[in-house]
Symmetry: none
Subunit: 217 residues, 4 copies
DNA sequence: TATGAATGAGTGTTCATTCAT
DNA sequence: GATGAATGAACACTCATTCAT
């Protein structure tokens, strides 16, 4: 719960390959079942280690969860940061994030699901720390970019830059969830039909049209 | 899991007041802890009945969860349907949904959280049935309205009506979650600042400005 | 650790016969293995109940231990109190306690061993409460009786009544332990030889001679 | 459990200073927690060695316990033997043992507690061997001294020398326990009051008065 | 119909002991 | 000889579900 590292020094010392296997197993299990239904025994078995070892690496199930969540956040951060901090215009960034969301399908499914789960499960304390951690990045960057674009007269001036940033991120976050979460996947299909769901390019273009229009002028 | 009623005939026969007490306790517990951490004993106790009775009314914990989820969906449906099926223009509907989201804060917190939770927890089978159940309503209504407005030349013609409906709902759904879920609440504050978070009118107006712009022309 | 009852209301409601079976199993297990080596599963099995039930009756292993210890104390108290509070002369009381110690052999072995164990295992907090509970009885009664006998000139006046009471109880306590504890049993045999160990009357008489001499005049 | 040495040849070969550190750590841990709650990892860490090494020196936790218990007995033996085997009169010896008990407070607390613990924890096999080992010394010496003093007409003739020796040792053993064990410490305070408990000289004198009276004539 | 005591598989976690380095 | 990572059986405890009353 607090600000300390969530794994023991022993975990630092084991081979990287093993470390990754363990983290991947944990991500998969927590993503699939959520924190409380996840089984530490299942994680250990999937990783090919003993339960004893798992608890040598992480003091508690909660520590393991936190470690894995922060790892997920870091991975997302590493995907978003170069895009968000590039000097490109807002809508270019947005387009690249949309691309990244589609690209994550199949390859970061577990991470996406995990991200979705902890935004839902987190208690007050964790929620606050975690929202700061990831959303801080986009909240700040989007708001600033929108404000600057307004100053330069590139986009309409009547939008509140922070609210616009929030709404933009709502769209992008839900898009990301729609790639991996069962419910949101079905929901997307319900909206755009089974044909369009498979046609990434058409979907992307339609999304960008909407967003361009929202900011346009 | 399957398509049948989730409670027993006995549940139909008990007094309505008792029935409501039980469902309310279940909503509260599932909303607070999620499916697997929720305790059937806690639900029974909160409802003032014995565990024995609870399991006379619902065959399993899962049945109780499903019953409660479908009840929640029904409640949401009852809120949305009159708005969505009214003859009003799209943006008037949207404004009324935004209003409803803000109004739900404090009064439908448990329902909001429950809705958030099962969209995250649902497995393939449940997800499909449930998405159909609620999202079907808005997916259909929004898409049709947008298409009709385009036909009449009220709004821009370059939007794909179904994708636009999807993106619009992304915004509204996340707004609703932001009213009750800890993580999304903090995230909203991070975007708009602690002052605006308390100033519903300013927030609503800014949201509507954005949406009007997105559809405008 | 604190002053509350150590069992749940459920335990009060079950048949007395079952309650006694459970307590007896617990006394036996704790006496045999001590607190930390004792197995709750073994206790449940010996009592012919499920582990689930055991933990319905006692919130924790510690509560079960405390319940059983206090029960043991109570039993000892019930044996000693009538003797100690009778109006008889000191040495008559002592003789009756010696008799009770011998009589406890075979019938209260587990209780004796348990008593021995917790005097050894108790931590500061428990030690203080428990010593007060049982030793308070004899400490007070013996000291007073000795002082009164001195006032009446029945016994020698140069003894400190409280220290004499302490030393008297040392002898009686160790005698009691010597009836059931393996180590002290062997030790007694080592002192008095295997023949005398079996000859209760001779042993009792020799003990009383010593004590009479200590107080005499 | 059997009669062989409890450590490996490797333990003989390491530096004495290290050997002592390990034994001291083990005494402290076993004294504090008892056999089954004691942690081998804690002992190794306190001694500044690895667990691997600890198990190179002692085949099992039990062997370590036995080694340490026998070491403790040896230390006690070394304290008692010169007193008990001196040519002094019985009551002089007794007085020196009482002095030693008081002197052990604070300096041999761990050893006292350990002694107390294994007299309680020992099973049949161990109990027999250990009682022989230490109590043999005093049982023999006291009994003989009392008998001889009776022959010389120094003390009363009506005491059974072996029973008297047993009762004398009961008093001295409990006195020793009362110096370190939490329960017996509180019990002593209960008997003699908080003031006398701190006043060693008064206490010692009162004890000797009692014992002198018991043997007197 | 209502109750709540009973169940036992399953959970997270510990720890003496082993063994490759 | 020394290390400490690895093991897995065992532990205390929980909880959905059953069923006798």
């Amino acid at each position: 719960m607090n600000e300390h590292r969530h794994w023991t020094p022993v975990f630092d010392r084991i081979p990287e390959e093993k470390r990754n296997r363990i983290l991947a197993s944990a991500v998969a299990e927590f993503a699939k079942r959520g924190f409380s239904a996840a089984s530490t025994a299942a994680i250990a078995e999937a990783a090919g280690i003993s339960i004893g070892s798992l608890f040598k690496y992480f003091r508690t199930k909660e520590d393991l969860y936190l470690a894995v969540v922060e790892l997920g956040l870091q991975t997302l951060d590493e995907t978003l940061r170069p895009i968000v901090e590039s000097g490109e215009p807002l809508l270019t960034k947005v387009e690249r994030i949309v691309d990244a969301a589609f690209a994550s399908r199949g390859v970061h499914d577990d991470l996406n699901r995990l991200y979705n789960r902890f935004t839902t499960e987190a208690d007050a304390d964790l929620a606050n720390r975690l929202s700061r951690s990831l959303e801080g990045l986009t909240a700040e960057a989007y708001s600033r970019m929108i404000a600057e674009a307004q100053d330069r007269g590139e986009i309409r001036r009547d939008l509140d830059p922070r609210v616009a940033a929030f709404l933009l991120d709502n769209i992008l976050l839900m898009l990301q969830f729609s790639m991996s979460n069962e419910y949101y996947r079905d929901r997307l299909a319900l909206y755009v039909g089974p044909r369009t769901v498979e046609d990434d390019d058409t979907l992307k273009r339609a999304i960008m049209t909407f967003l361009r229009s929202a900011f346009a002028e």
